[in-house]
Amino acid sequence: MAASVSASTLLAPAPLPATPPAEKLPLAAVALGLLALLVAATAADPARARLSMYVALFLLSIGTLTWAALKFGRPPAGVRHDHLWQRASTSRGAIAWALGVALTGFYVVLYWFPAYLENLIRTLDPLSQLLRGKPADQWFLYGTFYTLAVLLMGGRALWKYRHSRYQLIRTGSVMFFQLGFSFLLPGLLLLLQKPEFYFSYFWPLKYDYLFPGTVSYLLRDGQALGVFMVFWGAVMSFLATPVLTYFFGKRWYCSWVCGCGGLAETAGDPYRHLADKSRAAWRWEVRLIYPILGFIILVTVLLWVAASGAVPAVQPLAEGLSKTYGFVIGSVFSGVIGVGFYPIMGARVWCRFGCPMAAYLGLLQKHFSRFRITTNGGQCISCGNCSNVCEMGIDVKQYAQRGEPIIRAACVGCGLCSTACPRGVLNLENGPRTGRYQASALIHSDSLRILS
């Protein structure tokens, strides 16, 4: 008879194979790059700071891409999750906490103490002049780092998931939208003396795009292009979003276009398994995300009421709420917590618990969409790999082991559950809405209460 399990051995740190010598060189380049970044941030001499910055960007880029090519490109193509829960960097160990603190600290400085970044900002002046025709500011620095993170870690994701054409094309898409629509195009608009505008962000995520202040500014200063921008924003929010979500699910935006999603899918890929899969976490998700959507709708409506002048008393209330939303949700939640907590809570904390666009898309996906993840008959073995890789914290196996399709408001359609499934059980599909919830007849799902 089997002995009782203490699980002590399984909890003890597993011996990790040594990093192959070939991978140590590019990793050293990354470390040197970070060091050079520190020099650039603190150097008194501007020329020296600039040189350090260029050296840093070069070393970080070449180091990350070479390391990824060696680590994922040399072994046979396939799911590579060995030691995910054993490494300190990806299992909430000391390295993860240190990185989390550093990232959180960076956001705090960026939002509220940008003076400390002055050195780094100035090093980007030549690039900013070239692209935007004006000196760099803290947001240009942030945009540059952000885009670089998406591109470099996107390169890593392309190597890692090269066996899946869905993952290759999707990763290529988020890299394209970040570089083109969130970095180059807004810069180009500035260069041409036009309003800076992000065509890939919409209300209610980019909430001020439908605020009366922004609309009147675009209409006033943007001429014909400004009118188009207002038109574009309104059409994307109220027409294109429901139509595209009907046909493809929330994924057309969250894991193909969105910049927040783009960072999560690339830089956040090593942390996707850290999303909490418990029922308690799901309850928090529902408690937070829908009130936040309601909050931003209320703020927008109040601002328009105030702007119309119909009820003058609304003006201070609307402005106060708008400022509160901007600070608490726009800055603290989406930035500081959203990215700062990547190595601890996974890369989709903002998308899952806070983003009002995700809430809006999720309601559409749940109730007015053809999208679902199909379970393949009775083939599920309850291994849990699908739930593990779900960055949105969906306990996918609860559905798969019952033969049920997965239709959840949170699902961003990244497709990793399907990629990671060792038995070919899950598939993202857009199909007719009739029978969308139909479970497989090959496995008899029970009627027990699983979820709240």
Partner: protein, 447 residues
Amino acid sequence: MRLVIIGNGITGVTAALTVRRLRPAAHITLVSAETKHHYSRTALMYVYMGHLRYPDIKPYEDWFWAENRLELVHATATALDTEAQTVTLSTGQALPYDKLLLATGSVSRFAAWPGRQLAGVQGLYGLPDLEQMARDTRGISQAVVVGGGLIGVELAEMLHSRGISVTVLVRDAHYWGSVLPPEEGRLVQQQFAENHVPVRYLTDLREILGDAHGRVRAVVTTAGEEIACQWVGVATGVQPNLSLAQLSAVETDQGILVDERLQTSVPHVYAAGDCAQHRQPGAGEVAVEQLWYTGRMQGEAVAHTICGQATPYRRGIWFNSAKFFNLEYQTYGQVPARPTAGIESFYWQHPDGRQALRINFESAGGHAVLGFNALGLRLRHEVCAGWIGTRTPVHAVLEQLGAANFDPEFFRQHEPAIVAAFAAAYPQQPVGLRRRKGLWGRLSGPV
């Protein structure tokens, strides 16, 4: 009704859940010596490799059991008195029952090799085995795995992930020779080769050699080769765990003998899953089934019988799946490992050896499709089972092949190449591909 279930594996738990659904008032107790909570045995390898942690392989969160009034007892059942209808536990407690389900699973099967008792020699069946393996493979550099089945390749992959050199001994001429035809076996061999895992075919274990401390230091194969190693994984199959049943009046043979309703020789005592041996298995079926899927189906069937809705166990159209390193495998219906009279076997393989499809069909009559083997391709279970169940002619299957495609979006579709290969192999059976993949294709295409 007081139902006591011995064993909290997939069979016992499926039975418990089904009884809870059919009899909301039943008092259900699950007894397990191994773990307090149900976990997925098939996922043990992922815990060792660090893909998952132990809590991640529990199919249900811990609150689930109390909320559904399923009582969990973490103890060994030491005695069974079928007269008094009582199970005695290692804690001294006596559990009375109205109905008893024995779902005690399996134990690893060891041949009588010299040296099998040495430290560092073990099988992999349960969590205690995994703990032992984690402990005994720490810091070692070489291992040997004996057995060319599913657990053999899993053990090789696990050890490989920790940088331990592993040699696999396979008795047959190719991998999993009792189940896979040679072509499929070659593709699995390609996976071993790509991952630099040497395999010795037509080779068995002769002897395990130990050092002065009673630890394994090498094995000697039937070919006379001595392979140095500090750990030996025995993956030569499992046999029913009869430790409780044999102490009772319940009749046993290889397993606990059951009729088609999964009733044992003793009233109110049932057995299902790995530990059960069918007195009269169906045609072409084996008496002892040791799979996740059959365990689940038997658990469901026996639950109905326990609740008074006598249900004979019918496993239906066969299906199974596995993954060999990076190569996924799915099978539906009958696909014998060797050529069989009356069965025609069409095999297609992509030139790079990463995808293959075998379609078996009757060589005479209506050429009804009998089975599928898919490697590196995902097939839709419902569609394949539907074709086999309705005896669809093979040419109709090929014309509609896209309806069975379960590969993710944007994956290359191989149906045109498969149909072309079939047309070349069987010119007397003209076929043309008429349906591509997708839900729309399934519903809107010609039937």
